[in-house]
């Protein structure tokens, strides 16, 4: 039965997107250019005039800029859309659901239940567990979310800050590793009084990240090396350096054959915020402080003003007497330090020791977090919380409903995909400001197409 039902939606799905003529897209592009040029501020999504974009020369840069600083509505709708598509994907892949779909016409409610159940588990595992025995069990999920979100927020801020200065920092991963490396060493090798020890660990982590980020800025400013390539390569170096160091006596745990470090001194750890039954630690407060700091830096300080000016128009910044090279180095160092803080949150908070997987995929998720947060400090903060919730809830979801946690990855990726294509999102939700006619006719087509491709993924 299931074999028969699956091909059916594919047939219309495959044909409906066709009416979107290839010529239509170029016309839209021209029209939007002209619209920006002449209608000026009337178009809310982008305040950048077409003229500047043309003159900017760096076309790739302006496209990236649009993606990273798109409007909030698109971010929210992208998340919504990704969740819906994720649900459909779960429905298609879950054997129980496939069975339910078989008798769909008899019992449509069952299919829906099978889709809603994993999401319910996700919420239960990330925000509030109403089935918990006592209050602490009920609140445990939200504290898990905060814990998992902490490094994501810090590293996300690093990516967002660099982006505001016009730099595409892919290197959060390496910077986290360096922060963790420096911090962990200070944490287990040195034995300092309580209070001071944690402070030294944090400073060491910030320095580690700042060095690894600053190198990128230095290379970019002095030699013009592209930061994307440099950061990717530095990620590899950091990763393998970490794996190597964990086999050396200086870092490897005594008596262990595994590549892991000794535990950090208790004095080097972030205090637990809500007692030992929760993993939530003071690193989360550090993340909030970091968000406030980045907000102040970008919006209230002369340094941030320089960063933003260099990011938005380096020529004008240079003409206004801003030292572009210095800004580049400084912003990468600060971005690295923020990522380093994420590393500290890992070793001093969550993990309590250094291992090869200390950075997990946080450095890459951080890019998505910054993207979803439109490179604003508070946007990044809440995007980090959302991703933390996905991660924390994903575990519960897998345990309770056997839905693979990988679905969370798919949802995250779908979010990025939609944010990168705002017109698609607007078209699906019928929000296209221009031609009403094409929007309505396009919605059905793209929606069916989008659903299909989502299911196929």
């Amino acid at each position: 039965m299931s074999e028969k039902t699956t091909p059916e939606p594919q047939a219309p799905g495959g044909t409906t997107p066709e009416p979107q003529t290839p010529g239509g897209t170029t016309k839209e592009a021209v029209a939007s250019d002209v619209a920006l040029d002449t209608a000026g501020g009337q178009m809310p999504p982008s305040a950048v005039p077409a003229a500047t974009q043309l003159h900017g020369g760096d076309r790739e840069g302006s496209v990236m800029h649009k993606i990273f600083t798109g409007n909030a509505m698109v971010s929210v709708l992208s998340v919504l859309l990704a969740i819906v598509l994720g649900g459909i994907l779960m429905a298609v892949t879950n054997p129980k659901v496939a069975a339910a779909a078989g008798y769909f016409f008899a019992q449509p409610g069952d299919l829906l239940t099978e889709v809603i159940r994993p999401y319910t588990a996700l919420v239960q595992g990330s925000i509030f567990n109403w089935a918990g025995a006592d209050l602490s069990a009920q609140l445990y999920p939200i504290t898990e979310t905060f814990t998992v979100a902490t490094p994501l927020i810090c590293a996300g801020l690093g990516v967002a800050l660099a982006f505001r200065a016009g730099l595409f920092n892919i290197g959060a991963q390496g910077q986290i590793i360096f922060g963790a490396l420096f911090g962990a060493y200070a944490g287990f090798a040195w034995h300092l009084p309580i209070g001071l020890h944690l402070l030294v660990v944090i400073v060491a982590g910030l320095v580690g990240g700042a060095v690894w980020g600053g190198v990128v800025g230095l290379l970019k400013a002095r030699t013009g090396a592209h930061e994307v390539i440099v950061t990717i390569m530095l990620n590899y170096i950091a990763n393998f350096l970490l794996l190597f160091l964990l086999t050396t006596p200086a870092f490897q745990r005594k008596g262990s054959t595994n590549p892991i470090s000794p535990f950090l001194d208790p004095s080097a750890l972030f205090p637990e915020l809500l007692g030992p039954q929760f993993r939530l630690h003071a690193g989360f407060l550090a993340a909030i402080l970091a968000t406030v700091f980045v907000w102040w830096l970008l919006n209230r300080s002369t340094i941030g003003f320089e960063f933003r000016a260099v990011g938005a128009n380096p020529s004008a910044a240079r003409t206004a007497g801003i030292n572009v090279a210095r800004s580049t180095i400084l912003v990468m160092a600060i971005a690295g330090a923020l990522a380093g803080l994420a590393g500290i949150a890992q070793v001093s908070g969550t993990e309590k020791y250094l291992s090869g997987g200390v950075a997990a995929s946080i450095g890459f998720d951080a890019i998505t977090v910054a993207l979803l947060g439109r490179s604003t400090p508070w946007g990044t903060f809440f995007a980090g919380l959302l991703f933390g919730a996905f991660r924390a809830g994903g575990v519960a979801m897998q345990a309770q409903t056997q839905t693979p946690i990988d679905i969370v990855l798919v949802i995250q990726s779908l979010i990025v995909l939609f944010i990168a294509a705002p017109p698609l999102v607007r078209a699906i939700f019928g929000l296209n400001p221009r031609k009403k006619k094409t929007t309505t006719s396009g919605t059905a087509g793209t929606h069916a197409g989008g659903v299909k491709s989502g299911a196929a993924a």
Partner: protein, 531 residues
């Protein structure tokens, strides 16, 4: 082909860009749309070209109503458009660009450009375009690129050609050539819609002039009307095209340039051994055709050119080799030639742009902390003083019209005590009203006793503002002459003829002197308009 627009209205949200505009373009006519920046000329043409749907109104071709859903349909109906920013692909050849959109193919899907090449040669010969179909577009000068755009329209059998601000990007010579091309097209029965705010060109080329102000047609004007009348109709109030300025009261020479040489990355001397002085209270205008070293000269003074030798002193202090910040701090006000590229950060607010080079100085900052309320107050004051038309100082500067953007740059640069003021192309792309304003502010700064250096490729502007004129040609100083020097002599000097020789040659050929000037009108006309 007769083209008629009836009651065209276009709204963007609450903004009415076009308000019941009626327009008739007769065959074989040059119909000029005259209006300030932001008056709605381009919007109207985009409606006509099928890029926008009109909110109300209709378009008639040969008295039959038509609806253009996209530019393709407008083209098919015989309407061609040359945009202000060219729609060409730089790495394609002329033929490829022209064929783009309706390419024909040979066997195996290969491009067949032979027919296109042949057509380009034919059109090129007919109108004297001198365009090689196989030249790469990015290698062509701007004027020739524009011709490629015109060819694109003609290949598609356009009967009505819309030229949107076609001279904004051209040198005076190229402008002349374009006007000749338009006359030829007209002779062949094509209708031309010429959008501009440059009165001289409009008067030279138009058969009918429609003046648009704030989205409405405010009237028809006769090409024989005086520029002052046209300007007043366009701006909506009496404007004076003649700048009233008192003779310069010059003081000490405080700014000197000696033996300045700028070498570009190819090892060429783009500025070659330049020496000049500017005294307090004096305007020295640097004249010359675009690309003769003016940009490099101003950038060398600012400190953003890498390979500079010689000496630049202000009040006895050597500026060469100092950072931009130091130069600005020494009291140099700098208006760059390309405001969107070098003068403003488009996504920043007006308030932020007003302090773009003062952001770390008191009272806008203390230490590393900035003071948003002081910055906003400052902006509100400057917006008032410089008459920047904006709903809010928190609006992104990129949403302003060119004239208002330039006012923001000027407001910023003139808002602190200056020891030297440098403005490059201060009125490029501005409308009459804004030009008048900018010129007055420049002269006001001069009368404060500031040495002023103006770089302009517009001879009119040079002659209006200058107390002395320095002419550059291929990075070298041809000569420094008084502001009273005739256009003919200046025109010759801009072509590299030394001052004395130019003087002699101009007086020998006085009656036919207009051929050497950059602009189409007889020089004698100038006096008449300034009465």
């Amino acid at each position: 082909m007769k083209l008629e627009l009836k009651g065209i209205t276009k709204r963007f949200g609450s903004l009415v860009a076009n308000d019941h505009i009626d327009l008739v373009v007769e065959p074989g006519q040059v119909h000029c749309l005259l209006g300030e920046n932001g008056a709605g000329k381009s919007t109207l043409m985009n409606v006509l070209y099928g890029l926008y749907d009109p909110t109300e109104g209709e378009i008639l071709v040969d008295d039959k109503p038509v609806v253009f859903k996209d530019p393709g349909e407008a083209m098919a109906a015989g309407i061609g458009m040359v945009h202000q920013h060219f729609m060409l692909i730089p790495v394609f050849t002329v033929a490829e660009n022209v064929a783009l959109g309706n390419e024909t193919t040979k066997a195996a899907g290969l491009l067949n450009l032979d027919a296109t090449r042949e057509k380009i040669r034919q059109i090129s010969d007919q109108y004297g375009f001198d365009v090689d179909p196989d030249a790469m577009v990015e290698d062509l000068p701007v004027g020739v690129q524009q011709r490629v755009e015109i060819i694109k329209a003609l290949v598609r059998d356009a009967e009505v050609l819309i030229l949107d601000e076609p001279t904004a990007v051209l040198t005076p010579q190229e402008t002349d050539e374009l006007l000749d091309i338009i006359r030829q097209l007209k002779r062949d029965g094509k209708s031309i819609v010429f959008i501009s705010h440059k009165l001289r060109e409009v008067k030279a080329i138009s058969d009918t002039i429609t003046v648009i102000r704030r989205g409405k047609v405010v009237g028809q004007a006769d090409p024989s009307a005086s520029p002052t009348e046209l300007a007043s109709a366009m701006v909506g109030r009496a404007v004076s095209l003649n700048l009233d300025k008192a003779p310069a009261k010059t003081g000490d020479v405080t700014f000197t340039v000696r033996n300045l040489t700028v070498t570009d990355h190819n090892g060429q001397h783009v500025v070659d051994g330049l020496s000049f002085d500017i005294a307090k209270g004096e305007v020295l205008a640097i004249a010359g055709v675009q690309g003769n070293g003016q940009t490099e000269l101003t950038e060398a003074i600012l400190g953003v050119q890498p390979h500079v030798t010689g000496s630049i002193t202000l009040d006895g202090e050597e500026l060469l080799g100092k950072s931009v910040k130091h130069v600005l701090g020494a009291g140099v006000g700098f208006v760059p030639e390309d405001r969107t590229l070098d003068g403003l950060v488009g996504t920043f607010t007006i308030a932020e742009n007003m302090i773009l080079d003062l952001y770390d100085k008191a009272p806008f900052a203390r230490g590393v902390g900035m003071k948003p309320s002081v910055i906003a107050e400052n902006a509100a004051k400057k917006v008032e003083e410089f008459d920047v038309r904006t709903p809010s100082v928190a609006a992104a500067v990129g949403t302003l019209s060119g004239g208002n953007q330039q006012k923001v740059v000027l407001a910023r640069e003139l808002s602190r005590p200056l020891r030297l003021f440098i403005a490059s192309q201060p009125t490029r792309g501005l409308d009459v009203g804004s030009i008048e304003f900018v010129h007055k502010r420049v002269i006001a700064e001069r009368d404060h006793g500031t040495p002023v250096m103006i770089v302009s490729t517009e001879l009119d502007e040079v002659m209006q503002l200058a107390d002395r004129i320095a002419v550059l040609y291929r990075g070298k100083l041809v000569g420094i002459v008084p502001a009273t020097t005739s256009r003919d002599v200046l025109g010759l000097m801009m072509a590299g003829v030394p001052a004395a020789e130019a003087e002699a040659s101009a007086s020998a050929h006085a009656p036919s002197g207009t051929t050497t000037t950059a602009l189409p009108e007889p020089a004698g006309h100038e006096g008449e308009t300034h009465v």
